[in-house]
Amino acid sequence: MSETVTLTIDGQSVTVPKGTNVLEAARTLGLDISAFCYHPGLPVVAQCRQCLVSIEKNPKLQPSCQQVVGDGMVVHTTDPASTLARKQQLEFTLVNHPIDCPICDKAGECTLQRLYFDHDNADSRVDTPKVHKDKAVDLGPHIVLDQERCILCSRCIRTCDEVAGQHQLEFAFRGDHEELTTAPGEQLDNPYSLNTVDVCPVGALTSKDFRFTMRAWELEATPSVCNGCATGCNVEIHHKNGRAWRLVPRHNPQVNKYWMCDEGRFTYHSAREERLAAATVDGLPAGWDRALASAAKRLGVFLKDASQVGVVLSALHTNEDNFALASLAKAWGAGHVYIAGKPPVPARADGRLRVADVNPNTAGVKAIAEALGLSATPAFELGTTLPANLRALVVLGDVLPGLDAGKLRELEVISIAAHERGPVPSARVALPAADWLEVSGTITNAQGLVQRMHAAFGPPGQAIPAWEAVVRLAHATGVKLAWTHPREVFKDMTAAVAPWKELVWAREARPLALRFAGSRG
């Protein structure tokens, strides 16, 4: 780093990079100065005055979010003057606040609730009627606003301006009638709109998708990586009762900072749909044993001359799943190797987070195929030039562009997939696999970063992680693959793929109960 500055906060000396603000400097010491409008990912406006501190030789209290550190600065955060100022500021904020907590979606993760308990915890001194404003105002396709609850911090306005680059929100009127509205002729409708719900320190902005489904404190958070596109935004899966209820972004300065796109947030819905929960043979449910025996029998005929066998790797599955299947293809000596993925969506690319490639692991699967010396063709070409000698196809994933059901039926197709869609209904044998919310593994984003996903809950029915299904299929066809844990697949994989040599398998993350997580936003 360049220059640093040393200052004293509450008697503790701290050295931070030049240009840091006092609030962040205090946070490095573990001192949490109360704040509403400050967000580390947004421009500073010092609008809420909730972060006032005393600075020696400065006659007035200063907002610590805006005050840049200076050498030798002496800051007090617990002195009577600034403590009283913050307490009184909070009281002002609460004057017209409706205290809707029982019906407010933010309850349990609300910054206003937390600061009230930290600072004041006293009865209201206001005996005049509160100013009432509109509730349940429809701002756009995804978001509902409660104007009474809004504390006018402007975080949402700045989020639209900075993250989406679209000015869609504004304040109107003045004094205690000031309220948040959409900008003239605008709706709150942009690909990153739901980030405003995350940053809102209170329950003024609520997501229509999540609204009134779960209380925040009932949920558990498991860290993972969005599988919506090749950006690989870091997310937290908020889940309960074996299903996800929402996805929220997790801070990663290298990838997504504090944000993610709306489309990515909704991907958890399709993860529940059309699940393949039992192994099938000829479209009928079968046990694992029968399905494996049937697959082995059907494949066995063609494995004598493995050039008749094709293997389809998936850009939608983890590195481990693909490495397992690629290793099996190599052991068989499979004649054809393809990489399947969804077709790109050029309209998505916006130079921000969203990119055209809607497959989360394109880079990973390419690197694996290359490292194992398999010459892989994109599956798009399968339909046009179906090789004459191709008889059997082992397909990972539920996406296989280029081949319609009729063509698939000409082949012996063995599917390993989480959903009954795409090629799966036409498969002779389908083996049920875990979807991304249920797997522990790694994916590689467009930048080449290998990112770790953790399983939030178990897969439904008989489904198992896809790499494990590959291991079972390998055993059934007489190939020994000795992995029993994704960590072991990962170890062999990093040994084989040169650019990933240095990588280590992170410890399994235990889900964090949000009731212990304090406030969010």
């Binding site: 029982p102 309850a107 001194r125 489904t213 209380r215």
Partner: protein, 228 residues
């Protein structure tokens, strides 16, 4: 008590070390005497107490009735009431006012369900017997209500914490009704309709207005100065 004092205390129960030779210890085990462990005497005493109450129940009311008759009072069957038992189910004792009976859900003044599906009661319930599925209501000020509200009365441990937790006076256990006997476990699950069926209107202010702050502040401050 000093440590030295502690050591001097004699061991009255358990093994007492008599001698130690290397790793071999000779211990004396002090056992309680058989008279104390047989419980024969205690059983007899207990039976005695039972018999005493039986006799008193039987003869005391009769004797007092006789003496009342001697004093000229009219002779009737009322002496039977003095026997310390009730002829259930013809007679029932009145429960204390705060007896926790079957739950009920209260109604707002306009007849709508008061519960706002805040999930406080299922969160606090130690028996995990409350299931609520919220939905959006058509009221503009109170936007949320329960679509499904179920309490499994078989699992309920009748602790009353749900009532304590409710910020809306929406759930109460003041019906004075026992959980009904059922033939099937599923029948013990009370649903939104049955809970509301027992419901009463509550006039408690919904939306929260505290007591007059000046009164409470003056109480708290010894000088009575409320403009702190």
């Amino acid at each position: 008590m000093s440590a030295a004092h502690h050591e001097e205390e004699t061991v009255t129960e358990g093994p007492k070390v008599l001698a130690t030779r290397g790793r071999v210890r000779t211990v004396q085990v002090v056992r309680p005497n058989p008279h104390d462990t047989s419980f024969l005497a205690a059983t007899a005493t207990g039976l005695g107490i039972t018999l005493k109450h039986f006799a008193r129940n039987l003869f005391l009311p009769l004797r007092s009735a006789k003496s009342r008759a001697k004093a000229g009072a009219p002779v009737d069957e009322s002496w039977k009431n003095e026997i310390e038992t009730v002829q259930y189910p013809d007679e029932k004792v009145t429960y204390p006012e705060r007896f926790r009976g079957l739950h009920r859900l209260t109604l707002r003044e306009d007849g709508a369900v008061r519960c706002v599906a805040c999930m406080c009661c299922p969160t606090v319930c130690p028996a995990h017997c409350i299931t609520i599925v919220p939905e959006e209501s058509n009221s503009k000020s109170i936007e949320k209500r329960p679509a499904i509200f179920e309490i499994d009365e078989l699992r309920c441990v009748v602790c009353g914490l749900c009532v304590e937790a409710c910020p809306c006076d929406a759930i109460r256990m003041d019906t004075g009704v026992h959980a009904h006997p059922v033939e099937d476990r599923a029948d013990a699950i009370e649903n939104r309709e049955s809970l509301l069926g027992r419901g009463v209107r509550s006039i408690a202010h919904q939306g929260g207005e505290g007591p007059d702050w000046r009164a409470t502040a003056a109480e708290k401050s010894p000088s009575g100065d409320v403009n702190r």
